[in-house]
């Protein structure tokens, strides 16, 4: 059974729809990521699930429970906030015990369950500390333990890693993923960071202006983005505009390239930089291209290419060999396999 179902969930602020008829299902044990730029409605969606914001219309169901009008304290949902939101006047132990005390659990049970939760986030030794005596990463782990100890029906994470510095972020990210797998708890994470989304989510929901742009696995979103918005939000890409017909796309500059799928009515195609195969010379499979800029990135080298017709492409290929000696102005060959040319729907038109 689905852990959580959102049915045409909508939030209006005046005339403005912050979240617009959003429907979504989270499976048991699934890690779902809501991804989008600020103001896309992802946080409002999360807050409606938690019950902090009342839905204008639509329905939120947890298991077979309709919780749309349920106050937050009766929902049994774990929430972790960006700023940790620990209770500064309570010890780490009491922070974690808070939810169990509200549930009137016996003292002995509280002790064991808090100890177990703190063990999960490797903070067993910190039970007596006050939150302000701990680092940001430790505080966030306390917040995670506090949300998990009540055995919530679903765990909501509101940009939980963005207050941490880069190194710590990777650490807590991995820990979070391992913990979620271990407990098998349905989880929704909200973020604007595509790396975080790709690395954590079983499925990603890309949101834009209050609506779902596309839902899919990280691989699906990367390889088969439904719109230019999704393509530019997840990974990098070359966007070429022009006209498609059958299995051929012709750019505005007159460059015609074969495609694996039919591209009728397609006005924009995407080519990922790493899908372009560079070679020292042009041949039957490789169009001639002039190097405009070379950037050495260590394992990869990024090359900006200018094609005869005026199209520009950014290509990325493993460093080494002839590529290390390539210079701007040089003429090389660029091979674009037909399956690497991905037709994009008009802005916001295609949704899965």
């Amino acid at each position: 059974m689905a852990a959580l179902v959102l049915d045409r969930l909508t939030k209006h602020y005046g005339d403005h729809a912050a979240v617009d008829t959003l429907s979504l299902t989270v499976a048991d044990g699934e890690f779902l990521v809501l991804l989008g730029p600020s103001g896309c409605g992802k946080t409002t969606t999360l807050r409606m699930i938690a019950g902090f914001v009342e839905a204008s219309t639509g329905q939120v169901s947890l298991g077979d429970r309709d919780i749309t009008r349920e106050p937050p304290h009766r929902r049994n949902i774990g929430v972790v906030f960006q700023n940790y939101a620990l209770f500064p006047h309570l010890s780490v132990f009491e922070n974690v015990a808070f939810g169990l005390r509200r549930r009137k659990r016996p003292e002995a049970e509280i002790k064991t369950r808090v100890a177990r939760a703190l063990g999960l986030v490797r903070l067993d030794a910190f039970a007596d500390r006050m939150p302000k005596q701990m680092s940001g990463g430790q505080q966030q782990r306390v917040a995670i333990a506090r949300a998990l100890v009540i055995e919530p029906d679903i765990l909501l994470l509101d940009e939980p890693l963005s207050a941490l510095d880069a190194k710590l972020r990777l650490e807590v990210r991995q820990e979070l993923k391992a913990l979620q797998r271990l407990l098998g708890i349905a989880t929704i994470l909200v973020t604007h960071d595509q790396d975080e989304a790709m690395s954590l989510g079983d499925r990603l929901v890309v949101m834009n202006a209050g609506r779902v742009e596309q839902i899919g696995s990280p691989q699906e979103l990367y390889r088969q983005p439904a719109s230019r918005f999704v393509a530019s939000f997840i990974g990098r890409g070359n966007f070429l505009e022009g006209v498609g017909a059958g299995h051929r796309f012709t750019t505005r500059h007159g460059w015609s390239l074969p495609t694996a799928r039919p591209v009728d009515d397609v006005a924009t195609v995407l080519i990922r930089p790493e899908a372009i195969h560079l070679a020292p010379t042009a041949d039957a499979d490789r169009v001639p291209a002039r190097v405009a800029l070379v950037t050495y990135l260590g394992p990869m080298t990024e090359v900006v290419l200018e094609l005869a017709g005026g199209d520009r492409l950014v290509a990325e290929q493993a460093s080494g060999g002839w590529l290390d000696r390539v210079e701007p102005g040089q003429d090389i060959g660029a091979g674009i396999p037909p399956e690497a040319v991905i037709g994009l729907g008009a802005e916001g038109a295609t949704r899965t």
Binding site: G78, V79, F81, A85, F98, G99, R102, R146, A147
Partner: protein
């Protein structure tokens, strides 16, 4: 970049005018008053230089003054509790409102302070009289048949002082509540705390230092209230500040007035420090 020492000098320089003012116009006169309180009062000769504790002994021995101090404390504590209870919801609303007219609302809170205490008390006199607004209103709605005696009762004085202190308390509390992390309250709700439990277990403890500050402010203002008890309490209702003024201005008994003033100050200070210590111990700040 200024060095640490230069910075310290600059800071000292900036604080000097205020420090000198306090020293010259507050500390020195108070030391003088302290000295006066050990002088003796001889009728006909007024103040006579001496070193005696007779004023303090008289104060402690005379049940009248003990009564005045007790009444002042009762009124002040009642006023403090009332202002905190009445002020909190207003302060919370002010702190949490999303309206664009917040500046206007803040002005409305401060507005009563634009009228002096004496003028405001005069207004209350009009409202509280036998034929006053309050009695007329109560009679018109049929709640009472015979006009209530409100003027010259502790109720009138307490309402009067509460109306003065409320502005200060609301302003202090709302800035404290504004500083409380709403996410912490939401976390409590998500963990199963009812809205009231959330308030009692999270909001209130986090607001405690501010609640204490607001309470102390209200308490000090009430302990030293003058115009309101004189005008609304009438001649038989005696609080400390008017009694001090009476000794000094009417009876020209500076030594006894000074000792009364010092006892008032010490009691206020002592209770404030005590409250501070209690809250600090209870919540380990």
């Amino acid at each position: 970049m200024a060095t640490g020492r230069a910075m310290a000098w600059r800071r000292a320089g900036a604080m000097a005018p205020a420090s000198l003012l306090v020293l010259g116009f507050l500390v020195l006169p108070m030391l003088l008053m302290l000295r006066y309180s050990f002088n003796s009062f001889v009728p006909g000769k007024f103040m006579v230089e001496a070193v005696t504790v007779e004023n303090y002994v008289k104060l402690a021995a005379d049940p009248y003054y003990r009564h005045v101090l007790g009444l002042t404390l009762t009124v002040s504590i009642s006023v403090t509790i009332l202002t905190l209870i009445v002020g909190w919801p207003v302060a919370q609303f002010l702190a949490r409102t999303q309206t664009r007219h917040k500046g206007l609302l803040l002005l409305a809170v401060v507005l009563p302070l634009f009228v002096g205490n004496a003028v405001r008390a005069a207004g209350w006199m009009v409202a509280f009289g036998r034929e006053g607004l309050v009695n007329r209103l109560l009679q018109a709605t049929g709640l009472i048949d015979v006009p209530l005696q409100i003027m010259f009762t502790p109720t009138a004085v307490i309402i009067g002082i509460v109306s003065v202190n409320l502005s200060y308390v609301v302003l202090t509390l709302s800035s404290v509540i504004e500083g409380i992390d709403r996410r912490a309250e939401e976390a409590a709700l998500s963990l199963g705390a009812t809205p009231f439990e959330t308030w009692r277990l999270v909001t209130l403890p986090l607001a405690l230092p501010g609640l204490l500050a607001a309470g102390v402010l209200s308490f000090i203002l009430s302990m030293n209230a003058y115009a309101t008890p004189v005008l609304l309490g009438g001649p038989s209702f005696q609080m400390m500040a008017p009694v001090v003024a009476d000794q000094v201005l009417q009876r020209a008994n500076w030594p006894f007035g000074a000792s009364l003033g010092f006892v008032l100050m010490l009691v206020t200070l002592g209770l404030t420090a005590g409250a501070n210590w209690l809250v600090g111990r209870r919540y380990g700040r």
